[in-house]
């Protein structure tokens, strides 16, 4: 039995997506660029998928859609392309909580002489808009933010950010990493100032190995991969027809499913979240309550460690992820939670649950039945029994024993009550 609550890491391929792809993995193998009747079906399939992606992006023209291999490639192409586009400018603004594919691209640009400012977030994971506004100057080539954060699910106000950017410097380009927004909330670029936006198919029930980049028609990006004329010269390499078809279908299904995400998936997420916070006294919510994608919750368990929680959950067939140092392989806990100032007491014990439209009520009930015992068992091993006892007493006085941080200052509010 697998209860998969790690949909921000990857998702299962929708059966309907798989069915759509299958002919192109078998009989319809023609190269879409070829000059015979046999290739027409392949090239038409790409055109259809491009239209589906255009619709998904809310783009004006299908010429604004470029197929890539993944979210990382989309981000690399947009970022490296944007600085090449704005050659004379040497400044970039981004956030401290971007995905590593974006952050490490900036680290490499810093080595090439670019100055990058990393805007901070508050303890709810929300962007410091004043700092962002201040950082944009005449020399700013690019501003890039994520639509939603992969670890906390917190949504950044991309529409408002776009307006700020263009009011301060109309020549500054705006890239949005929408990998974690896609399929969870509407990511239409319509009526926004977004110049470029990347997504990754496997985060919304297409297979791994396919992504897309929206590029506004007024922006000319140099290709990252040079070669043939595919993607109108923006991205060389024979088109990955079955995967492009699959992502197109997945995008169409995702768009149809947005309402379900916002209601049913959200209801299950909230049930899980409230249930856990109520059933375990040493837990706290690691983000804002309201301003989030509907599928994600990030809960910190205090004085215990995340990898151990995951290992015990895994024994029960439950898949989640952790911001703990031990799971990252890097020895340092999540850069996102650290940027939020998440207290060290719960930083290492932070667990992310991310649902999908395939998550069932039974699965959530099962987790709610099993998880409290896991947390209790692990908490019993902790060397911080005195601190835990203090926490238990103070939490009992506070908000029905639930620290949902709506009125909570880094977990301190409960102690002062």
């Amino acid at each position: 039995m697998v209860i998969y609550l790690d949909n921000n890491a990857t998702t299962k391929v929708d059966e309907k997506v798989f069915d759509e792809m299958l002919p192109y993995l078998k009989d319809e193998y023609a190269n879409p660029s070829s000059m015979y009747e046999f290739s027409v079906k392949s090239s038409n399939a790409i055109a259809d998928a491009r239209e589906q992606m255009r619709d998904f992006f809310g783009a004006k023209s299908e010429r604004e859609v470029i197929f890539t291999s993944c979210g990382s490639e989309s981000a690399n192409m947009a970022i490296r392309g944007a600085v090449a586009h704005n050659k004379s400018k040497k400044h970039i603004v981004t956030t401290k909580v971007e995905h590593p594919c974006v952050l490490n691209t900036y680290k490499s640009l810093e080595k090439q002489g670019y100055k990058v400012d990393y805007v901070g977030v508050n303890s709810n994971g929300e962007l410091d808009m004043d700092e962002l506004r201040e950082k944009i100057t005449d020399d700013t080539a690019l501003v890039s933010v994520m639509w939603a954060n992969n670890e906390t699910g917190v949504i950044f106000p991309v529409r408002e950010i776009g307006e700020i950017i263009k009011s301060k410097n109309p020549n500054t380009l705006f890239f949005v990493d929408a990998v974690q927004g896609a399929g969870k909330v509407d990511i239409s670029v319509e009526d926004t100032q977004i110049d470029m936006m990347g997504v990754s198919g496997h985060k919304f029930h297409a297979p791994k190995g396919i992504g897309a980049l929206y590029v506004k028609s007024s922006v000319i990006l140099p290709p990252l991969i040079t070669g043939g004329h595919q993607e109108r010269g923006y991205r060389a390499g024979t088109e990955n027809v079955p995967y492009i078809v699959g992502m197109g279908k997945a995008a169409a299904l995702a768009k149809e499913g947005l309402k379900y995400e916002g209601t049913e998936v959200k209801r299950l997420r909230d049930k899980l979240e409230t249930g856990i916070l109520k059933a375990t006294y040493n837990s706290r919510l690691n983000s804002s309550i309201s301003n989030r994608v509907p599928n994600t919750t990030n809960i910190g368990f205090e004085y215990i460690e995340g990898e151990l929680i995951l290992l015990h959950l895994s024994d029960l067939g439950i898949c989640a992820s952790s911001g703990s140092a031990c799971t990252s392989g890097s020895l340092e806990p999540s850069h996102v939670l650290r940027a939020m100032g998440t207290p060290f007491t719960s930083l290492h014990g932070s667990i992310r649950f991310s649902l999908s439209r395939f998550t069932t009520e039974n699965e959530i009930d099962y987790v709610l039945e099993k998880l409290p015992k896991v947390i209790e068992d692990i908490t019993r091993i902790s060397p911080y029994q005195e601190e835990l006892e203090h926490l238990r007493k103070s939490r009992a006085k506070c908000n029905g024993g639930v620290c949902n941080k709506g009125n909570c200052n880094n977990g301190k509010c409960c102690e002062s009550d």
Binding site: E305, L311, S324, T327, E332, H348, R380, I381, S382
Partner: protein, 272 residues
């Protein structure tokens, strides 16, 4: 997912000896909440024998497993034996740990060492760690030179990555990496383990036969191994070499250099 041995999994699933001993004779501590793992080791010691041990751990699966097995390793053992336990022993007892997780075994050993130090401080004068410097090398994880030195010596570490896997040092900001490299240069063993006298003779003979003699034979000379006494190798140059006025040069610059390079760098070659 880490590749944990069955034993590691058994120990984090069913940790032994969890909890505290209220009247413990010593409590050893290691790690911290900030660093992401910490351990309290409670020991009951009677007549120089560990009669009971319990632990409390904040940490990942391998940290719990290391602590759990450590309590099993010390219970019923005389202090003199417990003292000899190294982090490598803990890892071995768990049928190994992934390289990135070796620092968990180091934490177990640190807690044990801390407990023993406290015990000896109270009982008798002992130099368990008195003569150690405690210079902090990695400020992110508060790792001292002692800990790094011991990790290098006990586990035969030779690279920066090793040090980070075993002690966490250098795993965050990375500013101490230069410092760590210096410690590796200082403490890591560059030579192979010391050879026994018989192994030494065999090796020297092999190098002379397979490497040195063929070279000399090319010039119409030859060499005979006469005797070996500790680091002194007695040889007789033969053929054209024996009458060559450059024979001393041959001896020192070629024979001795080759033997020092291939066998041991303290070898002295003497012509008889």
């Amino acid at each position: 997912m880490w590749k944990y041995s069955d034993k590691v999994m058994d120990h984090y699933r069913n940790p032994r000896n969890v909890g505290k001993i209220d009247d413990a004779d010593v409590i050893g501590e290691a790690g911290s909440l900030t660093c992401g793992d910490s351990l309290k080791l409670y020991l009951k010691i009677k007549d120089g024998v560990v009669t009971d041990a319990k632990f409390q751990t904040f940490g990942c699966g391998s940290a719990v497993a290391s602590s759990s097995i450590l309590t099993e390793m010390v219970i019923g053992k005389p202090i003199e034996e417990v003292r000899k336990i190294t982090n490598a022993d803990i890892a071995k007892e768990l049928d190994g740990l992934p390289p990135e997780k070796m620092h968990c075994s180091v934490m177990g050993h640190e807690a044990l060492e801390d407990a023993l130090k406290k015990y000896y401080d109270e009982e008798i004068e002992f130099d368990v760690s008195d003569n150690k410097t405690s210079r902090v090398v990695c400020t992110c994880f508060n790792v001292t030179e002692d800990v790094i030195k011991e990790a290098i010596e006990v586990n035969g570490l030779t690279t920066l990555e090793d040090i980070t896997n075993y002690t966490k040092a250098g795993g965050a900001c990375g500013r101490c990496k230069g410092d760590i490299q210096k410690l590796i240069d200082k403490y890591a063993k560059k030579n192979e383990p010391k050879l026994s006298p018989a192994q030494l003779i065999l090796k020297i003979n092999k190098v002379i036969e397979n490497v040195i003699a063929p070279e000399l034979q090319k010039d119409g000379g030859d060499i005979e191994l006469v005797d070996i006494s500790e680091n002194k190798v007695y040889v007789k140059l033969q053929g054209r070499c024996s009458s060559c006025k450059n024979s001393v040069l041959t001896l020192k610059s070629f024979v001795e250099t080759t033997l020092r390079d291939k066998v041991s760098n303290d070898i002295e070659v003497i012509q008889v």
